[in-house]
């Protein structure tokens, strides 16, 4: 105890209080400890659900700090197509979002689109980090999302890549199968351009054949076959030649080579292609009806797309299957068989349907389009089912013949989405690299450390940096979030064209977030498992044992008594408490 220092002209006023001459630093409270807190970043459920394994929580954090360039880099290291995926991805990340337990999921896709467009606006290049060139070259068949992704990731890993594409321009389904109002060609072109600038060579107008592969075999160290499903399946019913090929129709639309159509149209199928065709037909002035043999809720098309189609006036006829088409004059008479659910379900959870007696319906339409699925054009494009050295990885098939022969994209993916195709390219690149470095036997195990969460998505970032940098694979659950630190807020909606406008044009129906919208939405994100420097650990530590060292937070174990308050007060489960005994 001592008298206090004197300052403000009041020194003669008695001030006699207890004050220590030394600090409490001599009391090393760390000696009381039997449990130790540590910074332990974990996997967010959105990342684990993202086929491309994007580090979404960190991307949200960076965007929140308005470090958009870093946020873009964080995406690009895992996915070279943010502007594309920000438009067409079916966003399983949002379905997995922990915020759903609180109010509404974060609009992750909208932020990705904002960042993708930001990168284009700023003419950002792909992150330059590359492994040294290893002298090996890879032949990639098909310049769709899987082939382009494989080229991109292999180049990053030091390979030289040649992509061969049968059509006149790269992009595959993105270029030829998705209508302009969902994905403008110029956006796609910019993202492909970026991949070319990175060093991937793309040769278009080169139709591939088995012979070509044989002839070029000696020139390449490996092959990646990802030519997609470009041939529409046939209905195989009487008169089906009167029906137009839906994919072909979409291709014509993308070439802007469409002959004017009028009247009514039936689109047979329930997938995204059927919906894309129907919505395009609306824009051409037709009245389309989707005919689907199962129920509406069984449609494999994305719910949001189906909803938009209905708003735009597309009718949906469920539980009817075409059994005959008769073309008379200019019109098609479609005989439809009524179907009923059998009670069984497919492995994908869709109802199995069977004909409902002899009930049929006759429908007159001006046009019929088929969109009941697609398949590869040539038998050699199918991946081998099994073989002595055939490995089915989650997103690709690795056949070890005299050279590594890999199959990916729609040919192997259980979910035929753009983001899964990108995941396929990445997995193939990493598997191939692992093979060249460690041999065949090490392959499956060698990729395990780079899984995001429980997989199958892989992290290129940790593959490049090495095993020890991998994030804890524990997926943060809603119960592990300290929701006291969050308040409910409505999801930020991006602007969209009014339906009466959208049906008259091929302009994008949805707009990109504004700067303010993007930042506002990131405030809602829990940033599950990621330290966003909120400083709660330091503020709440009773011993002030959280200190800064080289501007990073570290725990001073001389004073940390292991109370665990920091771990409990961490809003986002980016810390853990470990027993020391």
């Amino acid at each position: 105890m001592e008298r206090m220092k004197k300052q403000n002209g009041t020194e003669d006023i008695p001030l006699f209080i207890s004050r220590s001459n030394i600090t409490t630093e001599i009391n090393k409270t760390g000696s009381w400890r039997f449990a130790r807190p540590k910074y332990d970043e974990k996997t967010s459920p959105c990342s684990a659900a993202c086929p491309a394994g994007e580090d979404i929580a960190r991307i949200q954090m960076l965007a929140n700090q308005e470090s958009f360039k870093e946020a873009v880099h964080t995406i690009l290291i895992e996915n070279p197509f943010p502007a594309v995926c920000g438009r067409v991805c079916f966003h399983p990340c949002e379905t997995a979002c922990n915020r759903t337990g609180f109010d509404e999921p974060i609009a992750i896709r909208c932020l990705e689109r904002f960042l993708g467009d930001f990168a284009i606006q700023e003419s950002m290049k792909l992150p330059p980090e590359k492994l040294p060139e290893n002298g090996k070259s890879v032949c990639i068949v098909g310049a769709g999302p899987a082939g382009l992704a494989a080229g991109y990731f292999l180049t990053r890993l030091g390979y030289s890549c040649h992509i061969f594409e049968a059509s006149s321009e790269p992009g595959g389904i993105l270029r030829w199968g998705i209508p302009e109002y969902r994905l403008p060609v110029k956006i796609l072109a910019r993202e492909i351009e970026r991949i070319k600038d990175f060093g991937v060579k793309i040769n278009c107008n080169v139709p591939m054949s088995q012979n070509f592969l044989k002839e070029t075999k000696s020139r390449y160290d490996a092959f990646f076959i990802a030519c997609g499903y470009s041939r529409s399946m046939q209905m195989n019913i009487p008169g089906d030649q009167a029906a137009s090929d839906g994919l072909e129709f979409l291709r014509h639309m993308r070439r802007e080579e469409i002959t004017p159509l009028t009247g009514t149209a039936a689109v047979v199928g329930g997938g995204n292609t059927a919906v894309d065709i129907a919505r395009s037909l609306v824009r051409l002035g037709l009245n389309p009806i989707i005919v689907y043999r199962r129920r509406k809720q069984d449609m494999p098309a994305f719910k949001h797309e189906v909803e938009m189609a209905r708003k735009e006036g597309v009718k949906i006829l469920e539980l009817f299957a075409p059994i005959q088409i008769e073309k008379t004059g200019g019109a098609c008479f479609l005989t439809l068989q009524q179907m009923k659910i059998s009670g069984a379900e497919t492995s994908g959870g869709r109802a199995v349907v069977v004909p409902d007696g002899r009930v049929t319906q006759l429908r007159r339409v001006d046009h019929v389009f088929t969109a009941i699925g697609a398949e590869p054009t040539e038998p050699w494009q199918f991946p081998p089912e099994q073989g002595p050295e055939t490995l089915h990885l989650g997103h690709c098939t690795f056949a070890h013949r005299d050279r590594p022969l890999m199959f990916g994209g729609d040919l192997t993916n259980p979910i035929k989405s753009v983001t899964d195709a990108i995941a396929s390219g990445k997995q193939a690149a990493m598997a191939l690299d692992a093979f060249f470095k460690k041999g065949w036997d090490a392959n499956a195990d060698r990729l395990a450390p780079y899984r995001v969460g429980s997989g199958p998505a892989l992290s290129m970032e940790s593959y490049l940096k090495g095993e020890h940098t991998s994030r804890n694979r524990h997926i943060v659950s809603y119960e592990e979030i300290n929701t006291d630190y969050f308040s409910t807020a409505a999801r930020v909606l991006s602007a969209s064209l009014a339906v009466d406008e959208s049906v008259h044009s091929f302009l994008e129906t949805e707009e990109t977030y504004t700067f303010d919208q993007a930042v506002e939405e990131t405030y809602r994100c829990f940033k599950c498992g990621i330290c966003d420097s909120c400083n709660n650990c330091r503020i709440f530590c009773p011993e002030v044992a959280v200190v800064f060292k080289d501007s990073r937070r570290v725990i001073d174990l001389n004073y940390c008594k292991g109370c665990g308050i920091c771990v409990v007060e961490c809003p986002r489960n980016a810390m853990a408490l470990e027993m020391e005994i």
Partner: protein, 394 residues
């Protein structure tokens, strides 16, 4: 610039102009408007300060104690139950010698629930070591708040600025609100005599053995004894800038008065009119408005009241089992004074009941017509309980 402000906003404007750095409060009627405005100032950038939202008044006081220990200017506000909940930490704030300023809006304690004017909440904290200043109108609230920071920081003791619920907190009056630079001239930045500092860590407020505790308490009293003089100096400087001063108390017509009425808060305004009316009919009456209750201005009380015949103390509070608290204090101040006057204790206006000119006149005539008080406390305007019972039975 003159503004029409409610009493609550006279406080919040003064706090804004005082450049307070850390505030913490828990809302309670009738204090809410004060902290509502201040939290708004923090969010809209009108103040460069932190407003700490807490879950109770106990935590609010703890938060400002922490901030003040760190050497910054602090403020909080509360009322009634909230002040009662702070009780433990009120002792801490004063004994730790922290110059915290608090606005306390006098409100009745429950049960029965009552949000209206009553002084028992603040008077029940009289032994906590806080300076207490009671205000009469909006301008005085504004001025006292500004003065409170100067005073608190000079003597290293916390100050409670007390204002009546609704009669003052929610009543709009013209208040002169000066520009920031003028206030800055009167109230320089806080220079703490001690502050916690992580670069040079030490602990304060720890163990004090019997060998030293008494001296520490004595030191608080010594600082308290300096308050009248320091307040006078603060008021001189304040008057030089703003041309207004209030003093620890104000005596009106006391020199030749036979009966002096002792009042506090807004009742003083009512009393001014009553005195002037009674003087007009040649009644020898005076009034004493008590502004500073802690420290209690014993010497001044003796000087002013000593020569009168009778003193009528109006208490809008009550200490159960004894009397009104102001009456108690006045009696204590006078008891050792030779030939001291009779002190009549009147209890009026509890729980928001009006104290009207008629109430005060009744008190005057009662005092004048009685030789000695026939009871320790005389309750004014008390209705028989039966009048309420019969109503509820019907």
């Amino acid at each position: 610039m003159k503004k029409v402000l409610e009493g609550s906003h006279a406080v919040s404007e003064a706090v804004r102009l005082a450049r307070v750095q850390v505030m913490s409060a828990y809302p309670i009627t009738p204090q809410t408007h004060i902290v509502e405005a201040l939290s708004e100032y923090c969010s809209n950038g009108a103040m460069n300060a932190r407003f700490l939202c807490v879950e109770s008044e106990h935590s609010a006081m703890a938060a400002v104690i922490g901030a003040a220990s760190g050497g910054v200017r602090t403020f909080t506000a509360t009322s009634s139950q909230g002040l009662a909940l702070m009780h433990e930490l009120l002792h801490w704030a004063s004994a730790a010698r922290l110059p915290i300023v608090m606005a306390e809006v006098n409100r009745a304690l429950a049960p029965g629930w009552n949000i209206w004017m009553d002084q028992t909440d603040s008077l029940a904290q009289r032994d906590t070591g806080w300076i207490q200043l009671y205000c009469e109108d909006g301008q005085e609230v504004f001025d006292t708040t500004l003065q409170a920071f100067r005073l608190a920081e000079k003597v290293s003791l916390p100050v409670m600025v007390v204002l009546d619920a609704f009669f003052l907190s929610h009543t709009f009056e013209p208040v002169d609100v000066p520009d920031q630079d003028i206030v800055d001239g009167f109230l320089p930045p806080f220079l703490p005599r001690f502050e916690l500092n992580t670069d040079n860590p030490f602990a304060i407020g720890q163990m004090a053995a019997p060998t030293i505790y008494m001296e520490m308490r004595h030191s608080i009293q010594k600082a308290m004894e300096r308050v009248p003089g320091e307040l006078d100096q603060v008021e001189q400087e304040f008057a030089a800038t703003f041309n207004r001063r209030y003093g620890p108390m104000e005596a009106i017509h006391c020199d030749d008065a036979e009966v002096i009425m002792v009042v506090t808060g807004t009742a003083a305004s009512t009393c001014r009119k009553v005195i002037s009316d009674l003087r007009a009919i040649n009644e020898q009456v005076g009034m004493l408005k008590l502004r500073m209750f802690r420290p209690f201005p014993t010497d001044l009380i003796r000087q002013v009241l000593g020569s009168a015949h009778k003193i009528a103390v109006i208490d809008r509070n009550f200490s159960f089992g004894v009397s009104g608290i102001f009456a108690q204090e006045v009696r204590a101040a006078l008891c050792n004074y030779k030939g001291h006057p009779s002190v009549f204790g009147y209890i009026a206006g509890l729980g928001g009941r009006d104290v009207t000119p008629e109430t005060l006149e009744e008190i005057y005539w009662k005092t004048k017509s009685t030789d000695k008080p026939d009871a320790e406390s005389i309750w004014i305007g008390l209705n028989p309980y039966s009048s309420f019972q019969s109503r509820s039975n019907s």
